[in-house]
Point group: C2
Chain length 345, copies 2
């Protein structure tokens, strides 16, 4: 069951292994369950960088004390539609799912909810939480800022993180519409992959130490924002939106000020990471039923639109949900290090 | 006072001329004032395509009956945080400003507001309304869908509009942070400009009739989404976000179903355009004062970041606000057709 050194593991087994290791590392049941759910979301949908391979990192950070193994989440309700949730420096997945739960409760009553999250940590794939809202019938937006990795437009140092914006919308009797996008064109591990393969990068995705765009993976010191050399001010602005919501509205750490996620001796100080969640109840706008019909009509028209020669047209999430179905049936490939840590075979 | 056939007009005079023509066309005082405010926002900030040149179009649509000259806006409060606003087919600017006003009222009490707008029309630059909220201390998001103009990722027909996402945030004693971006790389009038100049287009911004990317402005039949040939699925997804909020949550017209804004004999049927506004009160999250301090710190760090050789780094909106200052002092250049319509000189 190997290909390219990858090891194929049935999803249910992988889930149990991840839960086992998080539990062994001392994670409370609630926070371990949340992390497993989010990691499996990413690993099933094909976002391996944010999937089960992070288990070892989280366990190490719980051992070091950066991540609180038994967080007691507290909520400050500031108004009918708004709240601040304090993650007590636990696993970010736990805080983020709790924020969406709270957001749904608020939005179900008041139409819309804004929940800021403080004292959290890395949350994996932001889309996991947007999907959690959409699966219950809510349009959901989730964002977080992250470690500096991306130049500003025409900038010459890492400033914003790859700061994701994740949106999901319910589709009756179907998987949610899902857009979970980094505001850079590619992630840094794509650069590392090209480096190890000695393969040129696409144009406009990375820059050298002076901020000049480069296609040489060895010279690449930072990512460029979505839009590349000409229109990267849009991607940089969107990275700013993630920071605006996640860090500025919550009073948490700015992208350049994070204790690094990796590559630091400091595994004991919490990073006070922030996230932000907006949950909207379609019932309080056009109405749940009409919204469902409109989603179906829109998606039918989108998926039926003509494609350019040799290509096909998909709705956001279509590729990921198809991959999730394949992986649920055939198993999930993991790298040898992760297999070793999870004691798979 | 000419350059390239453009005519330079003092801002105050231009404002009076636009108001005069809208009033002469029968626009109610309230809706004319709103349109003037939004058109002047765009013309001052340098977004000429969405500025005073649209006055003639709006006047023609009021004459034809597509746009209601004396709209009676109605509001349906659906919950504490949510509302649907019916623009009564009047000028979109009037409905959009009213929606932000209502959003601020709601958010001031409940922390966050979601306002859907139906039975509206073209609103000019979405950023005008985001700024209106930010100038009063609120983080504000405004979006609208528009006439089909942009291919899907790998698509071969115009599907989404250039669907803008506009975000603004208050900065104490300063102009707001402002991101008002189309989800295509360029607008269609840029293609027309290149066509008239016989100048090649940048790569990855437009496609021919089969959906294949082209740099030939004469072959360009549609725009490509932000992200271009490789990462355009992100721009296409963001265009979908605009449609999700503006059309699907409000039950209004989908991008491909609009009666065309231009180039149609039908100037009498309303287009039932939708928009969506989210207003957030920072006081209900980190707190207004801390938020203001955080914005200042963030912007100082951003503007002080090193730039690549020969370039400079700016925050979203910096370029536009500087242009607005220049234009307020020196006047606003308008094209000869607009000058004729506005009876300038």
């Amino acid at each position: 069951m190997q290909s390219d050194n990858q090891i194929l593991v049935p999803a249910a087994e992988l889930e149990q292994r991840v839960l086992g290791e998080l539990t062994r590392a001392g994670a409370s049941q609630a926070s371990a369950n949340a992390a497993v759910r989010a990691l499996m979301h990413a690993s099933l949908l094909g976002v391996d960088s944010h999937g089960v391979r992070l288990t070892e990192h989280y366990c190490r950070m719980m051992a070091g004390g950066r991540i609180n193994r038994n967080p007691q989440i507290t909520v400050r309700r500031t108004a009918a539609g708004s709240a601040m949730l304090n993650g007590d420096d636990g696993l970010g997945h736990y805080a983020a799912y709790k924020a969406v739960d709270l957001g749904m409760e608020i939005a179900g009553e008041h139409g819309i909810a804004g929940v800021g999250i403080e004292h959290s940590s890395h949350l994996g794939a932001a889309g996991a939480y947007a999907v959690a809202g959409a699966e219950r019938g809510f349009v959901t937006f989730v964002t977080t800022n992250t470690d500096s990795m991306v130049a500003l437009f025409d900038g010459a140092e890492r400033f914003h993180g790859t700061n994701p914006l994740a949106f999901a919308a319910p589709v009756p009797n179907s998987r949610p519409w899902l857009l979970d996008m980094a505001t850079s064109s590619i992630p840094m591990n794509r650069v590392l992959l090209h480096r190890s393969l000695g393969k040129e990068l696409p144009a406009g995705v990375a820059a050298d130490a002076e901020g000049n765009p480069t296609r040489d993976p060895d010279a690449a010191e930072m990512l460029l924002p979505l839009g590349g050399e000409e229109y990267g001010y849009k991607g940089a602005g969107l990275a700013g939106v993630a920071t605006l919501f996640s860090a500025l509205l919550t009073g948490t750490t700015l992208d350049p000020d994070f204790i690094p996620m990796y590559g630091t001796d400091n595994d004991h100080d919490p990073r006070n990471m922030g996230h932000y969640v907006i949950v909207i109840d379609p019932a309080k706008f056009v109405g749940a039923e009409l919204f469902g019909q409109a989603m179906h009509g829109y998606l039918a028209s989108l998926r039926g639109a003509p494609a350019r020669p040799g290509r096909s047209v998909m709705a956001p999430g279509d590729r990921e949900w198809a991959e999730a179905e394949r992986r649920a049936a055939n198993g999930i490939s993991i790298d040898p290090d992760t297999a070793r840590f999870l004691k798979v075979r």
